[in-house]
């Protein structure tokens, strides 16, 4: 998988590259707007991550160029601008997703996985780890070939973990992803713990070879056992 990351903020770029390398992606990071425009003009990428504010131009211009040249590849806009206009404009110009800074690494991962999945021609909609297979379109989970019933939120949680295999998922990232903006208070941690505990029980009962482990009181990680 080839990914083009257009982000002028050096430190943030490094953090994203480190994270994406863990996911076995090949990442290219043009230094500025012109380098990015050149790369878009020559190569094809599976996914392009675009910052809107760039020295020399805007991410939206790159997006226009991309679409006018009829290039393949999904686009995720990352921007510090939460303005609705930009978001709508970006999506209108053909971006697949829009992520507002600051975001969780796990969230970016999940979004990339989701857009890649959507763009894949073969329409494969499953994600697997160990003996666990999740069909995202059908919203079905099977362990060792046996279906396991999950409620809506449990499905979303496990989906998020499967998009972030072996990666740290903080409780906040999980809460925001699964429950939206509705959770932003401190005692949500007990609530999330309770939800995770239920999910763990179901996975254990189904003899899954994956496990959700706690990470330093800040989040969880899905690992294979």
């Amino acid at each position: 998988m080839k990914i083009l990351l257009v982000e002028d903020e050096q430190e943030l770029q490094e953090a994203i590259v480190t994270s994406l390398e863990k996911e076995q992606f090949i990442i290219e990071t043009p230094v500025d707007f012109y380098a990015a425009a050149e790369k878009i003009g020559i190569y094809n990428y599976d996914c392009i991550i675009l910052d809107i504010m760039l020295p020399g131009g805007t991410g939206l211009e790159l997006l226009e160029q991309l679409k006018s040249e009829g290039r393949q590849g999904s686009v995720i806009i990352i921007s510090a601008k939460d303005a609705l206009d930009d978001k709508l404009k970006g999506l209108e110009l053909g971006a697949d997703d829009y992520l507002t800074k600051p975001f969780h690494i796990a969230e970016l991962n999940a979004r990339i996985r989701a857009v890649l999945r959507r763009h894949k021609a073969e329409g494969k909609s499953t994600v697997a780890m160990g003996n666990v297979v999740m069909d995202i379109n059908e919203r079905l989970l099977s362990v060792n070939g046996t279906p396991v019933a999950l409620n809506r939120k449990e499905f979303d949680i496990l989906n998020y973990f499967l998009f972030n295999q072996n990666r740290l998922v903080t409780r906040t990232a999980l809460a925001e992803h699964v429950w939206g903006d509705n959770i932003d208070q401190a005692d949500n941690f007990d609530f999330i713990y309770y939800q995770i505990k239920n999910l763990r029980k179901k996975l254990q009962a189904a003899a899954a070879t994956v496990e959700i482990t706690a990470v330093y009181g800040v989040g969880y990680k899905l690992i294979e056992i």
């Binding site: 953090a15 480190t18 208070q185 005692d187």
Partner: protein, 425 residues
Amino acid sequence: MKLSSQYIRYLFFPILLIIGIWAVVFYFNMLNEIKESIDEGLEHYKRQLIYKAQADTSLLRQHDFDEGFFAVRPLDREQAILARDRYIDTMLYLQDADDDTLEAEPVRMLTTVFENKDRYYELSVFNSMAEEGDLVTELFWEAVALYIVLVAAIILISNIVLRRLWKPFYDFLIQLKDYRLGHTARLPAVVTDTREFRDLQDAVNFLLQHSIRTYEQQKQFVGNASHELQTPLAIATGKLELLLEKEDMNIVHAEEVADVLNIVERMIRLNRSLLLLTRIESGQFPGGQDMDITEVAGQSIRDLAAMADFKNVRVSLTVVAALHVHMDSALAHIIISNLLRNAIFHNIKNGRVSVTITEDSCVISNTGAGGPLEAEKIFHRFYKSAGDAGTGLGLAIVKAICDLYGFTAAYRFDDNLHTFTITFR
């Protein structure tokens, strides 16, 4: 007290005094004039009688006033030489044509002395003052009427003139009263040629423009600061999250890092709330759509159902009447979910939350530990009750949305229930 009333009060008393004095002086002057004219008449009459008496001596025998307006009495020479013309005001019993009996009437009497064929007589002539008295009374009432008319006219004219003169001022005042910093687009303007009012407008607008600039700068500052913080915060979380993924981390260090990450996440929430507040206040949510509040509340309740279950809080929705409001969809959800979330979080074990929708309001009330909250302060930014781990901006955001659309948000505590009411109209 209104300006016109004050003006009239100040004007009224001097006018009352001046016209009062003038009326008295006028009255006495008139009285004098009348007497003088009567006296002249008497003098004239006297001469006529004396002249007539030379031819018609019968006049000399009229000793009393029975026959006419005069009486003649013979006099000694000595007395006559000493006598002078005298005018007196006295009363005489007279019978007028329209009277049945004698009546005392005020008269003016001239007593004089004359010589006729070497004999001396005293002549008294009089003129009734009754009519003149009537005249004076009439004059007096006319003066009073004039006074009343004059005062009424002055009040009326003053009122009209004052109203016309001060109209631009009152128009300006109304505009100023309606002026809301950051909401009213146009500066108050005065339409007049009056220099003082133009000066006032200039002075007020100068002050307003200064306030607007300060307000805009402040608003922009909060917006810009929050905006500029987004990227550093993104870097910080990214780096901390990656750091925590390192396999070789010492557990004690890792927990420290986790603490820092939690703090950074709190900053992110705060920053996000501040940005939202700024965006609401700077009108970045124009327009809107028809929102069914029952649907919004239902959605919020579903979103928070798991949380409520977990906290053992029962949430009920009562719809008394359908409520449709024209507003931004995201803000409609924020306003309801913020209140609902508070109601669920600041609740007790096995507590209750009830959401009631009426034709013009949404009422959310909940059981909770502790007594009433400080109603005036809870909608302020960064207000937090004890043990509250939130941003302290949730209700400030609710208030900002209400202000944006002209809704009202109110809190009351009764029957041991914390009750928040959003009135949409």
